[in-house]
């Protein structure tokens, strides 16, 4: 650090600690002398191991965050909530028939949603959680899947819900149903797998395995490359602009 970093005070489970500003909550907890066993996972916002509840001076509200993705603030009073109990009935995906009430029959408690939106406000990923639960209630599996896709299963939604809904488990089931039954299967895949099973590439692969390094290098250097974006039917990149993607970050940018 080339600048001198001012110290701030955070309350960790009620005890004040003086920590440098600019740290994430997780780094601040560690700076204070805690060795985390629970409450830290990927440390990059992907695993959901570090849900944190906190209050701020001057607000009556409870806030939620991922400790590894949020800067510590002066006057913050926080606790980590590294585990949210989950109990779900096992299911066999292959045995499910996707119907309008499939999700509801697995999770009847979603009928208790009062649309209070607490889950959405609590979601550290900024997902429209309540809307995907509502979509689940009316059997719109596609919408549940798209809206819940960025869920990291931290469980904050579930801990805050007055109807005790297990939002992240609802999203998981919907996505698996969507992925397996609702999106069409890749047409070329079965063909390629049966080619492989028939041993179509075996002799060429075996041949290459036994090539000298020099021969292999020569083949490698002569490889042809696929044009990155040919604009044709199989153009890889042109499909990235998915018109159905509902993720909206407008609030995050402007807020």
């Amino acid at each position: 650090m080339t600048e001198r970093v001012p110290l701030i005070t955070m309350q960790l489970m009620g005890k004040p600690y003086s920590v440098p500003s600019g740290l994430t909550i997780m780094a601040a907890i560690e700076f204070a002398g805690y060795k985390l066993v629970r409450g830290a996972g990927c440390r990059g916002g992907f695993c959901g191991a570090c849900p944190t509840l906190y209050r701020r001076e001057g607000s009556h509200r409870m806030f939620t965050a991922l400790a590894c993705q949020t800067l510590v603030e002066d006057g913050m009073s926080l606790v980590q909530m590294p585990f949210v109990p989950l109990a779900t009935k096992p299911y066999e995906l292959a045995a499910i028939t996707p119907r309008a009430n499939t999700i509801l029959s697995h999770f009847p408690e979603i009928a208790g949603c009062v649309a209070c939106n607490t889950c959405t406000r609590a979601c550290p990923q900024g997902l429209q959680v309540m809307d995907y639960i509502q979509a689940a209630l009316r059997g719109d599996i596609k919408r549940v899947s798209l809206l819940s896709f960025d869920c990291i299963s931290c469980g904050i939604c579930s801990s805050r819900c007055p109807a005790d809904i297990k939002h992240y488990a609802v999203g998981q089931l919907a996505r698996r149903i969507y992925g397996r039954f609702i999106t069409p299967a890749e047409p070329h895949l079965a063909e390629r797998v049966s080619e492989l099973e028939a041993g179509q590439f075996t002799s060429e692969l075996t041949e290459m395995m036994h090539m000298s390094q020099a021969e292999l290098r020569a083949r490698y250097e002569q490889r042809s490359f696929e044009v990155v974006d040919d604009g044709g039917e199989h153009s890889a990149t042109k499909r990235y602009n998915s018109p159905v993607d509902p993720v909206d970050f407008q609030d995050e940018i402007e807020g």
Binding site: A40, G44, D150, H188, Y220
Partner: protein, 549 residues
């Protein structure tokens, strides 16, 4: 520090130059290097090629292998338990013990059960939570040659070339051969890969690939695969014990692996697990912070499995080479080292220097790309300095939306976008600063194509296993690797468990290891496995009292 939309004034000046050169750069890509040029660059700039940062292993089956000091320290360390530990009372008796609850371990357990093992006779032990792993953090994609104009042959060549032709051919064959089948399995499990309306996968290029075969699920590909696998394992009723790392393998009197000693990290109670077969799937080593590089890895990536396997005499391979991902975040400080997926470059973002000029082909293999970034900062001196001293180069992310239409970043890279937004940077408008970060353990425990190590009863899969990527892994082959070899190891271990019975448990190898340490003249109080890195603040530790409470 005054920030303007997330960046300090000093960096804003350079961003203006990047914006100025952008129109001319669209559609003009810096040429790729020849193999000779790559080699020169690597030897001069890649961290792995710095001789003073490494030393040879003094003993054991891979004696003489030159590895990073940080890794050598772990091999030259004392076990956490003595051979006198009471092994007479076995806590759990299973057919298969899987050590590691990330991608490879979960896949192995699922396939062992599909192969016929009773789920209640399988145990997955994991150090953190089920799924806390590098698998979950993988963003960009998974390779599989499943389109008509692609083939396992092309894939094979790409993998071999990327690994500098040091890969074990039979492992690469297994990798490319099983890939389409793995994708098909994922489809049946309901993994939501990016697809078009007809079901065609969206397939993108990655560094070092000659065909577009990168399957993705937005930029949460690893998360999506991992959470589906975890859900499937739960539905199959496979028991997982969390926060319980293995601290030592157990052998029987023949020296065959026969289970492990687990420790509950919260109560410190140990558990003796006797298993007919054991699979190590403990992942990588980024949290050893080689040469003090930041890392993209998860909290538990401390090479525990390598240590355990080496203690029972398993061969290691290719651990000389560690993968530095070219694009770790370099600004802001809170994000330092976090992965910026290669998909950003796959979608057209160019790396540029302080003047906004290109200096390298955007999709060289990772070690080459990383070395070029280091050269630009350290030798050429055209890196961009951050207020806290770290240097980096720009990755011109706004190009993605320009090339593919507004909204592409938000829909194809939501994790990246969300992460930068949290720290006040809009990557659709401004470039992002990157520098190489410690990413992947290329080598590891040596196995055959069925995951069997040189020690009977012990299997390995995933990042902890070596040989398949040679000295350098290509993007999209780690998600593939843990699926292919997790599956193969699960099936092979299940078969092994059917015909083998472990004998009396012993920790004699611990004595033998201590003996080798002494013989090699290593005198140390270091212990291994490391289990977790220590990030506690210096001031707090200076006043730390180690007293019983």
């Amino acid at each position: 520090m005054e920030l303007i939309d997330g960046y300090p004034e000093s960096m804003r000046e350079s961003i203006a130059l990047v914006e100025r050169t952008r129109p001319a750069r669209l559609g003009v890509t810096f040429p790729a290097m020849s193999l000779e040029e790559r080699k020169t660059l690597l030897t001069r700039f890649h961290p792995d090629y710095k001789a003073n940062q490494k030393r040879a292993l003094l003993f054991g089956p891979s004696k003489g292998m030159v590895v990073s000091h940080e890794l050598a320290d772990l091999f030259e360390a004392r076990p956490l338990i003595r051979s006198s530990l009471d092994l007479t009372k076995i806590d759990t008796e299973v057919d298969l013990l899987v050590i590691g609850g990330g991608g490879a371990g979960t896949v192995a357990a699922i396939w062992a059960v599909k192969e016929g093992l009773d789920p209640n006779r399988v145990l997955v032990a994991t150090k953190l939570r089920h799924g806390d792993s590098n698998s979950t953090m993988a963003q960009g994609g998974i390779q599989a040659a499943d389109r008509p104009h692609d083939s396992p042959i092309h894939h094979y060549l790409d993998v071999m070339g990327g690994g500098h032709f040091t890969n074990r051919p039979e492992l690469v064959r297994a990798l490319v051969n099983d890939a389409p089948q793995i994708i098909q399995w994922h489809e049946s499990l309901g993994v939501m890969y990016d697809k078009d309306a007809q079901g065609h996968f969206v397939e993108n290029p990655g560094g070092g690939t000659s065909r577009n075969r990168m399957h993705s699920a937005r930029d949460y590909t690893g998360l999506e695969i991992m959470r589906v696998l975890r859900d499937e394992a739960r539905n199959l009723g496979i028991p997982v014990v969390e926060f319980s790392p293995a601290i030592e393998l157990l052998c029987d009197e023949r020296g065959h692996v026969a289970g492990a000693v687990l420790v509950n990290m919260e109560t410190k109670r140990y558990h003796i697990i006797r298993a007919k077969a054991t699979i190590i799937t403990t992942g990588g080593l980024g949290r050893l912070h080689m040469q003090q590089f930041p890392t993209t890895n998860h909290y538990g990536a401390t090479a525990d499995g390598l240590v355990l396997a080496y203690r029972v005499g398993a061969d290691l391979v290719d651990l000389e080479a560690i993968q530095y991902h070219p694009t770790g975040a370099a600004f802001p400080a809170q994000m330092a080292g976090l992965l910026i997926t290669e998909k950003v470059r796959g979608l057209g973002a160019q790396p540029v220097n302080i003047h906004g000029d290109q200096f390298v082909f955007p999709l060289e293999p990772r070690d080459v790309e990383a070395s070029a970034f280091i050269r630009e900062c350290e030798e050429v001196g055209l890196g961009i300095e951050t207020p806290y001293g770290m240097n980096g180069v720009w990755l011109d992310s706004p190009m993605v939306d320009i090339l593919h239409g507004p909204g592409t970043i938000r829909s194809a890279l939501p994790a990246m976008f969300r992460m930068y937004t949290r720290f006040g940077i809009d990557m659709t408008r401004d470039p992002i600063l990157v520098f190489p970060t410690l990413h992947y353990q290329n080598g590891g425990i040596a196995t055959d194509e069925h995951g069997a190590t040189s020690v009977p009863g012990l299997y390995a899969a995933g990042e902890v296993m070596g040989g398949v990527h040679g000295k350098n892994r290509l993007m999209g082959n780690s998600l593939l690797d843990f699926n292919v070899f997790g599956r193969r190891a699960g099936i092979a271990a299940a078969e092994y468990a059917r015909d083998h019975k472990p004998g009396r448990l012993t920790l004699a190898h611990v004595d033998a290891y201590e003996h080798m340490l002494r013989e090699s003249g290593v005198e140390t109080t270091r212990t291994a496995p490391r289990i977790l890195p220590d990030y506690r603040g210096k001031e707090a530790l200076e006043r730390y009292l180690d007293i019983p409470l």
